[in-house]
Point group: C2
């Protein structure tokens, strides 16, 4: 069943289940043909069709039902047509849950070289071999439909920080026009199409972008163009001014964020979805999140410590191993150390989201948020 210019996926729905009285936070249920996702939810990042160091089974067992992958990377290698030929990205990576693919807008901005944005699209050189490519809104949708994600993203025009108002304004208007073209070029019924709000750190532009995208009637809305070097306060402010301009009934996704206390701050301002490489990347650097704050397992003080990384954690690492062993694995560059640390941090993020949802349901989010932020604010990597 294919149809041109379809907007409003039939296979996708989002429902707000409960709301926090003292903030904009809400608990929601996002449904795709691959099942339900409870929100607020964190998406592990599987850029190239694999969440680094862990298996799909492990992600599933940790409670994850929605994973992010990147159209930009998979388009360049192994190619979206190849993935489609093997049976789509779910089959390729053997992931039974839902997938969200990013459009490539941010990756072209952050990874591509000799980037040139025109009304048609963005011309860039591959970060792999320098070959020239043009990403248009139409190609981005085509790539994402070939990959077969349940949620696909509109191509957006991302600007660096800081940027002038005029340039940011132009990017907002272009992002809206591109979103309309994405909607128009969408051929498959099932995938939900999300727009991405831009506008740098200008409140008026964030509102303009939110209003423009909302008028298109998309399936969900992301807040993009943040975590690109702006002060944390400005990031929080932009979430705060943007979220109220997005439809209550649609999911809101804060892209590329973040640290645990950033996530809680996003939830307090009405955000439902998050993604970030932080838990997985930091794990591979030996930085582990714990209920008492972060720790670096390479630190000498863990040398002969028989205690688990976090006595309150029930992950494979904390149930079975001492800090001394994990430190040993890291010093010896053993892959198994990366596995265990990644599992642990993803377990931590899964628990963080579960507790956040419970706190909203119990009307105790304010207390939970204060405690969580007090524990986590020391993370500044």
């Amino acid at each position: 069943m294919e149809r041109k210019g379809f907007g409003g996926s039939m296979a996708f729905s989002f429902e707000v289940i409960s709301r926090d009285e003292s903030s904009q936070a809400r608990v929601g249920r996002l449904v795709t043909s691959r099942g339900e996702v409870e929100t607020p939810a964190f998406m592990p990042v599987g850029t190239r069709g694999a969440v680094k160091a862990v298996s799909p089974d492990e992600l599933w067992d940790l409670g994850y039902r929605l994973v992010l992958a990147n159209a930009y990377h998979l388009y360049l290698r192994p190619g979206h047509r190849l993935v489609e030929q093997i049976g789509g990205l779910h089959r390729f990576m053997d992931w039974p849950g839902a997938l969200l693919t990013d459009s490539g807008g941010f990756q072209v901005f952050s990874l591509g070289r000799l980037r040139k944005v025109t009304e048609e699209g963005v011309l860039f050189q591959s970060h792999l071999d320098g070959s020239a490519h043009m990403f248009t809104p139409e190609l981005s949708v085509e790539v994402q439909e070939a990959l077969g994600a349940e949620i696909i993203m509109c191509l957006d025009d991302v600007k660096e920080y800081p940027v002038g108002w005029e340039e940011a304004h132009e990017a907002v208007l272009r992002t809206t026009r591109w979103a309309a073209r994405c909607l128009d070029s969408k051929k498959k019924v099932d995938p939900a199409l999300f727009g991405i709000v831009q506008g740098s750190t200008f409140s008026d532009l964030r509102r303009l972008s939110a209003d423009g995208l909302t008028s298109l009637g998309l399936d969900g809305y992301a807040i993009g163009g943040l975590s690109v070097g702006e002060p944390r306060e400005l990031m929080i402010e932009m979430i705060e001014v943007t979220a109220p301009h997005l439809p209550e009934k649609s999911p809101r996704y804060l892209m590329g964020v973040g640290k645990p206390h950033d996530i809680v701050d996003g939830v307090l301002r009405g955000v439902d979805l998050f993604d970030c490489v932080l838990p997985t990347r930091n794990a591979r650097n030996g930085m582990l999140f714990t209920s008492r704050g972060p720790l670096n397992i390479r630190n000498t003080r863990h040398r002969d410590d028989p205690a688990p990384v976090d006595p309150q954690c029930t992950c494979s690492l904390c149930r079975r191993y001492s800090r001394a062993y994990l430190r040993h694995l890291f010093l010896e560059k053993e892959i198994y150390g990366h596995r265990l640390a990644t599992l642990h941090n993803l377990s931590f993020y899964g628990k963080l989201m579960r507790e956040t949802r419970e706190a909203i349901g119990d009307g105790k989010l304010d207390v939970f948020a204060r405690e969580c932020k007090a524990r986590m604010e020391e993370i500044d990597d």
Copy 2:
């Protein structure tokens, strides 16, 4: 319960269950306090207290019950006393099966710098930081007892290939004297102590070494000093001349071997135990063993192949993924590719040993060996 100079472990036994009529091959049952191991068996190598890229659960599920670790590496880092303090190596690495630790003789020979062998022991510089250390037979046993393996090895004097008869002769006599000192310094009752036959590629020295060690009444006997650069034919010949001089009732262990057809050749000559980094190291290089011979997953011909690596294999990789996906993981340097490939190769080796045991039991080892060698002889890395 400690006792000085104990030889002949009470917690260890070995029994020959069945024999092949047309060769020296036998099926055996090796028992330690950590359960039974059916032989001929292959031991995955967990040098630093971790089999690279896989978990203890995965090893167990593949049928492995005996894993090798290295006294040399663990002595240098994190230190045998630290491991002991955490509860021993089984606890440290959370391995429920049995462990065999190598004595360090081979590692000092192959990794250490400025090596100087005296009657007392071997003086070497750490490959990590250049610090000076002396490994004596007594220290090697002390380290291995602290680690807590079920099977420990005597310190041996390994010579490079080629080496003159006189020097090899001296090393044989020293290895025997050192074995006697190992036996004498053993403090724990449980660990089985194995001697290591040396003698380079000299048949008379191999016999001399086997006779010397056998006279000590050790729990098992290894054939060492092979796979150090000698021609394959000489290696096979040395196994052939050595094995008949080792007690029928004791397990025989061919150290550091090897390729599937080398293992089968060892089994045909009466060897019961093997270890080698080949399946795990090759896996990380993208070389996979299959029922139709080896393949390199990086090869372009696998680029868009939806078929599994080996349709006859039931491992996680072959049940779930295409060659196209595994190749993609390798090109992208994804850790998960190393996991899957390692699991696959260890599954292959596990199956090889299982089929070898069955073939002996069914009286069909000659046919099995011919088929196996025909499939595998093309492996020459």
